[in-house]
């Protein structure tokens, strides 16, 4: 699991890094390549244009120079007599200077004058630059010494009817660049029907580009390896706290809930995770502690009646007894076993309520009847203590379990009587408020001090450690009351002032007001 996170992270990291390097490298490479070719092309085009600019029409014999370009700044001269213009060794004027007999004048071959710098370049170029020119008839006019065999370009149809006199020899057509095998050539259909091809081998450039590609690949590979190694280390560093958290979480178990994960940086996500886990462990620990305290309390409560039974049976059997004495022992044991039974019933009810299995036999019940019945039952007990019970009961129908609700009311009433002062008063009121039944049981007893109030519904919580035990209480009464009320969808609260009395307020969901009441009011 952990390894897979680590390797998934690493895989993603590697993929992304490789993609970025590839795209970046490819972009740079192709941009360099493009600019290199653009540079080559520009050079070739310029050369082609310079060549085109050097084309001079050769006037036909017997004719005036009228056929030459009128704006020609150079007087036409005999090609052989112009050594100053001829490219050294690169120029073949043989064809150009001998116009064929009988050919129309406009087919006369023009001569080409190369600028000296250009001629030098063709002569010495190491880059393999060359040029070839063809005349209108497809014959090679001139070529540089190193020019390979170049197939003559086909002049497009729209340029075929190029007049002898160009629009201007200084405004030649735009050259077109083509790649022919290893060479790149600029083709220019120049004036006077001269086709010019200037080319050079791209082999050195491509060699250079290949070297560049190799360099970039090596560099990219190195970066990738370094990046992956770094990623591995980083992933390890990220994983390590997770492993620490896992180890710590594993070591936390029911027997050892107090262990916590060490939080190094509470602001980081993992620190947050650790804090959340610690929090959860804390709540678990509290729940476990509560549970074991509950069990300890329950066993403690069971021990006392068990001790009574155990020792009174031992005493009875230690010698022969009269029937009267045996009867006393049996009665003692019966009281003890009743107490144990009640306690176990209470524990089971609470356990059921905890598990959401508190079974309620719910049906519409008139709450006032149940309260009145419970008051009737309690009145003699209250009277024995000089306590009077007052009641103000309104009709409220709830959907509830009559037995359980009676248990709740009886418990609250008996508490109110038990903890009342001599000659005190218990006031029971039942009202309806919107869709709820409000029952309050108020006494004039000793009250519950503020420190105890939050705990009165806790299991086995006793305001006075043992007072209620002597009077038969188990410390579970109010916990059960609360469980029953909550199971009915209600709530219970307590308010009290020490020395003045205590009020328990129960709120239960009421059923809609019965029709009979409405019609009774109408008639």
């Amino acid at each position: 699991m952990l390894r897979s996170i680590r390797w998934t992270l690493q895989l993603w990291h590697a993929g992304l890094l490789a993609l970025v390097l590839l795209v970046f490298g490819a972009a740079i490479f192709y941009e360099i390549r493009r600019s290199r070719y653009a540079q080559i092309d520009a050079g070739l085009e310029r050369s082609a244009q310079l060549i085109a600019a050097g084309i001079r029409p050769v006037p036909p014999p017997g004719r005036g120079p009228g056929l030459g370009p009128p704006n020609s700044d150079r007087p036409p001269a005999d090609p052989p007599d112009r050594p100053r213009d001829g490219p050294r060794g690169g120029r073949r004027d043989g064809r150009g200077e001998g116009p064929r007999e009988g050919e129309p004048a406009r087919l006369r071959i023009p001569e080409i004058v190369l600028p000296a710098a250009l001629a030098d370049r063709f002569a010495t170029s190491d880059g393999g630059e060359y040029y070839v020119t063809w005349g209108r008839d497809g014959q090679v006019l001139s070529r540089s010494t190193r020019a390979p065999d170049v197939p003559p370009p086909q002049r497009p149809a729209n340029l075929m009817r190029d007049p002898v006199g160009p629009p201007s020899p200084r405004e030649p057509h735009t050259p077109q660049v083509r790649q022919r095998g290893d060479v790149r050539e600029a083709v220019l259909f120049g004036p006077f029907g001269v086709n010019i091809v200037v080319g050079r081998s791209t082999e050195p450039d491509r060699r250079e580009l290949r070297r560049l590609a190799l360099l970039m690949t090596t560099l990219g590979g190195t970066v990738l390896v370094v990046g992956l190694a770094g990623g591995l280390v980083l992933a390890g560093r990220v994983i390590r706290p997770i492993q620490a958290i896992t180890a710590a979480a594993e070591s936390v178990d029911a027997a050892n809930l107090s262990r916590r994960i060490a939080v190094h940086d509470s602001k980081s996500e993992l620190g947050g995770l650790a804090a959340v886990l610690n929090n959860t462990f804390g709540r678990l620990e509290a729940a476990f502690a509560q549970q074991s305290r509950f069990i300890a309390d329950a066993s403690h409560e069971l021990r006392t009646p068990l001790a009574v039974m155990h020792s009174s049976l031992q005493l009875a059997l230690s010698r022969d007894r009269s029937a009267e004495e045996y009867k006393k022992t049996v009665l003692t044991c019966q009281r003890a076993s009743t107490r144990m039974k009640d306690l176990i019933d209470s524990l089971l009810l609470l356990a059921g309520a905890d598990a959401g299995r508190l079974t309620l036999d719910r049906r519409p019940i008139a709450l006032s009847h149940i309260v009145a019945g419970a008051i009737d039952m309690m009145t003699p007990i209250a009277a024995a203590k000089g306590v009077t019970i007052e009641s103000h009961l309104n009709d409220v129908v709830i959907d509830g379990d009559a037995t359980r609700i009676d248990q709740v009311i009886t418990n609250l009433l008996s508490n109110a009587v038990r903890y009342n002062r001599e000659g005190g008063r218990v006031t029971v009121s039942l009202t309806r408020q919107d869709d709820a039944a409000l029952l309050s049981v108020a006494d004039t007893g000793v009250g519950i001090s503020a420190e105890h109030q939050p705990h009165v519904f806790d299991r086995f919580y006793r305001v006075d450690a043992a007072r209620s035990r002597a009077e038969g209480g188990s410390g579970l009464g109010l916990a059960i009351v609360q469980s029953i009320i909550v199971a009915h969808g209600g709530s219970i609260g307590v308010s009290s002032r020490a020395g003045e009395g205590t009020i328990f307020s129960v709120r239960l969901p009421a059923m809609p007001t019965p029709l009979t009441q409405t019609s009774g009011a109408a008639s």
Binding site: H300, T304, V308, Q314, A336, A470
Partner: protein, 217 residues
Amino acid sequence: MRVLVIEDEPDLLDVLAQALRETGYAVDEASDGKTGLFKATGNDYDAIILDLMLPGLSGLDVLKELRRTKPTPVLILTARDATPDRVKGLDAGADDYLTKPFELVELQARLRALIRRSAGQAEAKIMVGAVTLDTAQRTAFLNGTPVALTPREYALVELLALHKGKLVSRTMIYEHLFDESSDTLSNLVDVHVAHVRRKLGKDFITTRRGEGYMVYA
């Protein structure tokens, strides 16, 4: 021997008191902490059996309060069985600790041991001249032969034997032999002394007129 039982569970208090009385102890009862402390400080008990969960004043508070004035041996009898509870009880000054439910015979054996030790007697058998007392069986032997004594006579012999070589006043005897509910007259002590002398020999108990009785080692 007179013991005080402080226990708030009425049935258990009854059973304990009856069991101890049947064994020959004089037993006083208290069902809450305040009454218990009042009785414990007001009388010289041979031992006190103390419950911890008491209304009014907790058992531990009773114990701490008692220890300010009296070294009476105290046996804590409680349902709290966790080690911290035992430690707390013993540290508060208890001499022994027993958890509920308990065996009556064990409670009585521990009680005997407590009383014996508090009298500086480590052994269960006490020898006084020709008389030997087996405190476990509550039996007296004269020259190796068991002598039939009533529980109260035995208690008198044991009291004197535990304080052998020391003067034991009539009041002290009365207080250790009869519980608070007895309304017998103190000259009953003389009757018991006379009975013991008849059974264990005239010279076993020496009378210090106007002061009390004693046995010589």
